[in-house]
C-alpha cells in the first residue's frame, strides 16, 4: 500500500527536481539568433518522471535494507544457499549441453544467415567481449580499478598499423607482437602503481590512458597525429587476399577463435593458484601478503594479462576497420568496457559476455536511442552499484564447506 506521507514525499522530490533541472532543461539559449527558448514541456516531464521514480527508488531501497525478506533464509544458514538460476542451468546437463550446442551452431552459421552488416556488428561485439574479459581480470578478479584500459587497446591497434606501414608485417605476425607489446606496456604501467590502491590507482591509470591518447594525437612523426593511419590490410588467408565480404566473415571466425581461447584461459586461470591470489588480493591486501602471496608479482601478472588481451583485440580492430586514429581510444571507451564488466558481474565470465552483447548490440539496433547511450551507461553504473553490486549474473564465490559437522549431528 502506498501511504499518504509517501505521496507527500514523492511530491517534494518532484518539486526539488523541477527546481534543480529548471535552468538546464527548460531554458535554452540560441546563440545565433539571440533568443531564449522556454521548453515548459520538459519541466512537466521531469516533474512526472521524478514523482514516479521516487516510488521506485523507495521500493528498491526498502528491499535493500537488511532483514527484508531474509527471515526465511536466515534459519538455514548451515545449508548450501540455492544456486542462482544461471548457475543451476550450468549444473543441469540436460539443459546445458543442448544449449551449448545450439549456441555453438548459431555462432558458426551466423555470418551465412545474417548480412555482412550484422556480421560486422557482431565482430565489434566480440572485440568488446574480449576487452571485457581482459578488464575482468584486472577489475573483477584482482580488484584494481583501471580507467586507462583503452591505452592497451590502442597499443595493439597502433602496433599493427605502424609495423605494417613501416615493415609490411602481416596480421598473423602482428597478433603475437601486439600481445607481447601489450604485456610490456601493462608491466610498465604496473610498476609505478604497485603501491597504490583504489582511488589513486584509478586516477593514475586514467592519466596513463590520457597520456597515450595525447601522445598519439600530437606526435605526428610517430603516429601521424589526428589524421591516423589508413589502408591497413585485412588479414589474409594463407597468402590469398580476400574480398571485403569474405574477409569480414574471416575476421568473424578469427574473433570467435580468440574469444574461445580467452574464455578458456580466463576460466582455467580463475581456479588456479594465481587466480585465487588475485581474488585474495582484491579482498584484503594485507591478509593476502600475510599468506605469503607476492603482491608485486600478482598485480603485475593481472596488469600484463589484461593488457595482452586488450592489445590483441586492438590488432583485430585495426585489421577490421583498416584505419586507426586517436579518436577511437578515448577515456569513454575505457568506461564503456568498465560498464560491460560491472553490468555483467565482476569476476563472472558469462556475465561479462552477456554484458558485452547487450551493451554493444542494443545501441546498434536501437539507433533512435543511441544519443542517450552514454546517459544510460552513467545511470546504469550508479544504479547497479547501489542495488546490484554483483552484476546481473554474479560470480559465484567458492565456499569452503566443512562436511564433518552434518555427519556428526546425525550420528
Amino acid at each position: 500500500m502506498i501511504k499518504l506521507n509517501e505521496i507527500k514525499r514523492a511530491f517534494l522530490v518532484s518539486a526539488w527536481f523541477i527546481f534543480l533541472t529548471f535552468p538546464i532543461m527548460v531554458i535554452r539559449i540560441n546563440p545565433v539568433e539571440h533568443i531564449v527558448e522556454w521548453r515548459w514541456k520538459n519541466m512537466a516531464l521531469v516533474g512526472i518522471g521524478s514523482f514516479f521514480l521516487s516510488f521506485v527508488w523507495n521500493y528498491l531501497m526498502k528491499q535493500k535494507e537488511p532483514g527484508f525478506k531474509k527471515t526465511e533464509t536466515a534459519e538455514k544458514t548451515d545449508t548450501i544457499p540455492p544456486l542462482p538460476p544461471a548457475r543451476r542451468i550450468q549444473r543441469e546437463k540436460r539443459i546445458y549441453i543442448p544449449a551449448l550446442v545450439a549456441i555453438g551452431t548459431l555462432t558458426i552459421v551466423f555470418p551465412f544467415i545474417f548480412s555482412m552488416y550484422q556480421t560486422n556488428i557482431m565482430v565489434s561485439a566480440l572485440i568488446y567481449i574480449m576487452l571485457g574479459l581482459g578488464l575482468n581480470i584486472v577489475v573483477g578478479l584482482a580488484g584494481l580499478l583501471d580507467l586507462g584500459y583503452v591505452a592497451f587497446y590502442a597499443v595493439g591497434a597502433y602496433a599493427y598499423a605502424l609495423l605494417n606501414y613501416h615493415f609490411g608485417i602481416s596480421f598473423w605476425m602482428a597478433l603475437p607482437i601486439g600481445g607481447v607489446l601489450g604485456a610490456v606496456f601493462g608491466i610498465l604501467l604496473g610498476f609505478p602503481v604497485l603501491r597504490l590502491r583504489g582511488d589513486y590507482l584509478a586516477i593514475v591509470t586514467l592519466g596513463f590512458g590520457e597520456i597515450i591518447h595525447i601522445i598519439l594525437q600530437n606526435w605526428n612523426e610517430f603516429s601521424f597525429g589526428p589524421s591516423g593511419i589508413a589502408n591497413i590490410p585485412r588479414p589474409s588467408l594463407f597468402g590469398i587476399d580476400l574480398s571485403v565480404h569474405s574477409s569480414t566473415i574471416y575476421i568473424y571466425y578469427i574473433m570467435i577463435g580468440l574469444c574461445i581461447v580467452t574464455i578458456f584461459v580466463v576460466n582455467r586461470l580463475q581456479n588456479s593458484r594465481i587466480g585465487r591470489a588475485w581474488v585474495a588480493l582484491r579482498e584484503d591486501e594485507l591478509a593476502c601478503q600475510a599468506m605469503g602471496i607476492d603482491k608485486a608479482k600478482t598485480k603485475l601478472t593481472a596488469f600484463a594479462l589484461g593488457a595482452t588481451l586488450a592489445s590483441m583485440a586492438g590488432v583485430v580492430f585495426a585489421a577490421k576497420t583498416t584505419f586507426v586514429n586517436p579518436a577511437s581510444f578515448t577515456i569513454w571507451e575505457s568506461i564503456i568496457i568498465l560498464c560491460i564488466v560491472v553490468m555483467g558481474g565482476m569476476g563472472s565470465i558469462i556475465g561479462v559476455i552477456a554484458g558485452a552483447l547487450v551493451l554493444i548490440l542494443t545501441p546498434e539496433y536501437l539507433r533512435a536511442f543511441s544519443e542517450y547511450r552514454m546517459l544510460a551507461f552513467g545511470t546504469m553504473l550508479v544504479v547497479m552499484m547501489i542495488f546490484r553490486p554483483g552484476g546481473f549474473i554474479p560470480d559465484v564465490r567458492r565456499i569452503y564447506k566443512f562436511e564433518g559437522v552434518k555427519s556428526m549431528d546425525k550420528s
Binding site: 539571440h34 580499478l145 583504489g198 593514475v204 596513463f208 542517450y372 552514454m374 546517459l375
Partner: protein
Amino acid sequence: MDYFLELFLGGLTRGSIYALIALGYTMVYGIIELINFAHGEIYMIGAFTALIVISVLTLMGMNTIAILVIAGVVAVIYSSAYGYTVEKIAYKPLRNAPRLSALISAIGMSLFLQNYVRLAQTPNFLSFPNLIPDFEFIKPYAHIIGSTEIVILITTAVVMVLLTILIKFTNTGKAMRATSQDKTMAMLVGINVNRIISITFVAGSATAAIGGVLIASHIGMINFYIGFMVGIKAFVAAVLGGIGSIPGAVLGGFILGWTESFATGYVSSDYEDVFAFLFLVLILIFRPAGILGRSGKHEI
C-alpha cells in the same frame, strides 16, 4: 622578464582556479575518503547555469554589474543543490559498501551529468561573455595581467579565507573535522554526520561554482566537457598538496598552475595535459601523502 612575469601571473591565475576546485575534492575526500568524480561536472553545471542566467538577463536589458552578481549567486545556489543531490543519490546509499563501488558510482554520476547537459543544452561550444570591466589602474600593466585575472586572484583569496574560517573557527567546522577523523565517534558525541557530509558537499560545490564562473569568463568558451579535464587536474592539485589539507590544496593548485604555465610557455603547448599526470605519478611514487599531508595512517 615581462614574458616571465606574464607566465608567472598566468600560472597564478590558472593555479587559483585549480585551487578553488581542488578545495572541493580535498574536503570531500577528507570526510568520506572518496574521489568525487562528479565534482568537475558540478563546476561545469555552475558555469552553464551562469551563462544561461547571463543570457536571459542580458536580453531583459539589465546592467552588467547586476548581471554578474546575480549570475554568480544563482550559479552557486544551483551547484550546491546539484552537489547535495548527487551525494544523496549516488554516494549516501554506498557509504558502507566497498570503496570500489562508490568510486564506480561516482564515475557513473560524472558520465550522467555530462550527457544530461549535452542532451538538454548543446554539444557545441558556447561563447561566454566577459562581464568584468577593464579597470583603469591596470592599463599600464595590461600586457602582463588583465582585470579578469585580478578579479580571479582576489576572489580566490577571499573564498579561501572564508573556508578556513568555516573549518577552523565555527562549530560546523569543528564537527567536520571530527567527522573526518572518526565517523562513529562523531556520531556518539551527538554530531549529525549525514548533515555534516551534506554541508561539506554543498560548500565544495559552491567553491567549484565560483571557480566555474571565473574560469568561463576568463577563457570565454564553455561546453559540456570542460569539467572533466579541469576536475582531474584539480584532483592532481589536491593530491599534490596532500589530500584532506586545505592549504595543501591551494599550494598544489599554484604549483600545478605554474608548472603548466611555464611548460607551455617555454617548452611546448601540445603536451600541456601530460605534465599534470606526470606530476601525479611522480608525487604518488615519492611522496604519497603530498607536500603538506600527514602520512603514516594505514588502516587494517
